[in-house]
């Protein structure tokens, strides 16, 4: 009994010194990725790019972890916390509940989460206005479409993905008033992010109904969407990272979510002691979202399209045009 108590006390002391040390010293950043994995050519890879940039500029090393299943998230977060890592960046909305627990257990460490809100005094919640970026690619889709019909393939059917769809539809209709938007979701479970066969079939289904531009927000499933669209000689739109190079000339553009900037600035803030807990929302104005413009899609974007989309960017940034956010009321006026 006494031995056990002694052991516990010792363990507590070790843990608290570790935490104290961590606070005094330089930041020890750590990342827990989402299930897609570090090199998913999409969302997670963006975080990786930002973290690498931070490492190169500051010389500060970071640790990361790629969970293979849901249960590992909490373990990984807790392990990093126990080792005194701070800030710890949790990537993806599905880490919310795990982070809520771990952040409460380690109030002296700094945490951040992308795509969700955790209301704790030591957590920075980073959100993106995906609807604004989707609005821009929607405008491009509307202008590039010859049939006046465009498609959207989402991954898992959750409000976040509906937000992409809704912003996209608004953009399409802003460019072409009577355009038709087909919205399909791949599934209702996590497997919906990794089913390229089904994604391809959904895209084919939309193209059979006349769509000639298809936007995806579906992670790995989207690889199948872009492939099916490229095979059919139509245009796809990528998401999160720049996917224009996957099928050069067949990807109209990509909706960039600058998670790299988010990861970079979180780590930088921690380094400069300017880390602030609370909610940060990155939209067009903050350059948190954008459309991809590179050598692969240059021939596809006409001068008119460029002009219109630049105008829309300025209007949204200045607040002249308001893009409706699906998650504010779970409704979409454009669909």
């Amino acid at each position: 009994m006494t031995l056990k108590a002694l052991g516990l006390a010792l363990a507590g002391m070790v843990a608290s010194t570790a935490v104290a040390l961590a606070q005094g010293a330089a930041p020890k950043p750590a990342i827990v990725y989402d299930l897609g994995g570090k090199f998913d050519k999409s969302f997670n890879e963006g975080v990786y790019t930002g973290a690498e940039r931070f490492k190169k500029e500051t010389g500060v090393e970071y640790r990361d972890f790629e969970p293979q299943n849901d249960a590992q998230r909490e373990q990984a977060l807790r392990r990093f916390a126990r080792e005194g890592f701070s800030p710890i960046l949790a990537v993806g909305f599905s880490q919310k509940s795990a982070l809520e627990k771990v952040a409460a257990e380690f109030p002296n460490l700094k945490f951040a989460i992308i795509d969700s809100v955790v209301e704790k005094p030591n957590v920075e919640s980073i959100l993106f206005k995906e609807h604004e970026g989707s609005y821009l690619v929607g405008m491009l889709a509307g202008m590039a479409s010859k049939t006046g019909k465009v498609g959207f393939v989402g991954g898992m059917d959750i409000p976040l993905i509906r937000r992409f769809a809704c912003g996209y539809a608004q953009g399409v209709k802003a460019a072409k008033k009577d355009a038709e938007v087909f919205v399909n979701m791949t599934g209702t479970t996590g497997a919906a992010w990794n089913d390229p066969v089904r994604g391809g079939e959904l895209a084919k289904g939309q193209m059979d109904r006349g769509a000639d531009v298809v936007y995806h927000a579906a992670g790995g499933t989207g690889i199948g969407v872009l492939r099916a669209v490229a095979d059919a000689g139509k245009l796809g739109i990528g998401v999160d990272s720049n996917q224009n190079g996957l099928h050069p000339g067949k990807v109209l553009t990509s909706m960039l979510k600058r998670v790299d900037n988010a990861a970079y600035s979180t780590f930088m803030d921690a380094k400069n002691n300017t880390f602030k807990a609370g909610q940060v929302t990155l939209g067009l104005k903050e350059q948190g979202v954008a459309w991809a413009d590179d050598e692969h899609n240059k021939p596809l974007i006409t001068a008119d399209m460029r002009k219109a989309v630049d105008q829309a960017t300025a209007d949204i940034a200045s607040g002249k045009v308001q893009v409706h956010d699906f998650m504010s009321d779970n409704k979409c006026p454009a669909l």
């Binding site: 293979q68 059917d157 087909f182 990794n194 066969v197 089904r198 289904g205």
Partner: protein, 302 residues
């Protein structure tokens, strides 16, 4: 779009989606008819898809991909055979182990080789199977041809009859002086070849490259189809086409307003294949009796 072409489009999609199911279902049929229960269809499909994706990318030839896919799948089949035939282990446990092994290994090796989150690089040109007839690739016709071949071999040849006997009453076959072990191994290897075909079709024809977990439960749907078809080849084709059709319909019906009902929620449409499966299994399937010795390791001394 007129009605005829939309029917054609759905039938096209049905065929594409049924082929992986059909391959896995026939694989299960061979294995279980010989008395070896095969839960590991999903794992074999996945391993084959990975090997096919990697080999087709390496060599630039889809046919080399097929060879590698079959190789990987047969290797796993032999592991299953060794555990459940030679070592007389529990066949369910071995099958589950194969599923987990394949899910983990493919993602890990893929990540180590290509560093793209377990994906293989996209296949281009000759690395994929192109359509040869009516827009479908050669693999589709090979898979379809396997149905009459399976039906004929199992019903009309000496090998097939012995194989079925081994699945019903291995002791009798043994008494007749025929090796139970050899027959079961042969069946397991055939199952490996068929899964290899299905996995390759997923990675190198339906999509272009491997993605972790891309089989998305098709190996298990194939098992359901196998039970529904009562372990017979032609009904297996019917069951797989039906499941493929339901999946194709669920994809086409999403977001399309139905006459008189309006737009049906996505979730309802997506649950439909499973609901209909349950209904069919419960209502129309009748009693499905598995091969009598399925799942029972053969012990000579008994």
């Amino acid at each position: 779009m007129d009605a005829l072409s939309s029917v054609l489009v759905v039938l096209d999609s049905t065929l594409r989606l049924s082929i992986p199911l059909l391959c896995a279902c026939l694989a299960g049929l061979w294995s279980e008819r010989s008395g070896v229960v095969d839960i590991g269809l999903e794992g074999k499909l996945l391993a084959a898809a990975f090997a096919a994706g990697a080999a087709a990318h390496l060599t630039g030839s889809a046919w080399m991909g097929l060879l590698a896919g079959i190789g990987a799948s047969v290797a796993l089949a032999l592991v299953h055979g060794f555990a459940s035939i030679t070592q007389r282990g529990n066949q369910i446990v071995s099958g589950v182990a194969i599923n987990m092994l394949a899910a983990g290994l493919t993602a890990t090796i893929g990540n180590a080789w290509y560093g793209q989150g377990g994906r293989t690089p996209p296949l281009e040109g000759a690395g994929r199977f192109e359509g040869v007839l009516l827009g479908h690739s050669a693999l589709v016709y090979i898979a379809l041809a396997m149905v009459p071949v399976t039906a004929f071999v199992l019903a009309r040849t000496r090998f097939g009859l012995r194989l079925r006997a081994v699945g019903e009453k291995p002791a009798a076959v043994d008494t007749a002086g025929i090796s139970v072990t050899a027959l079961r191994y042969a069946a397991v290897v055939v199952a490996g070849v068929l899964c290899g075909l299905g996995g390759t079709y997923l990675a190198a024809a339906l999509s272009a490259g491997f993605l972790p977990g891309m089989t998305a439960g098709r190996g298990f749907i194939a098992l359901a189809a196998l039970i529904f078809a009562k372990w017979r080849a032609w009904p297996a084709l019917g069951a797989c086409l039906l499941f493929g059709f339901l999946e194709a319909m669920s994809i086409r019906l999403q977001g399309v307003p139905l006459p008189g009902i309006g737009e049906v929620p996505v979730q309802a449409i997506q649950a439909m294949p499973y609901v209909i499966t349950v209904l069919l299994l419960a209502g129309f399937g009748g009693r499905a009796i598995p091969p009598r010795a399925a799942g029972v390791p053969y012990v000579k001394e008994r």
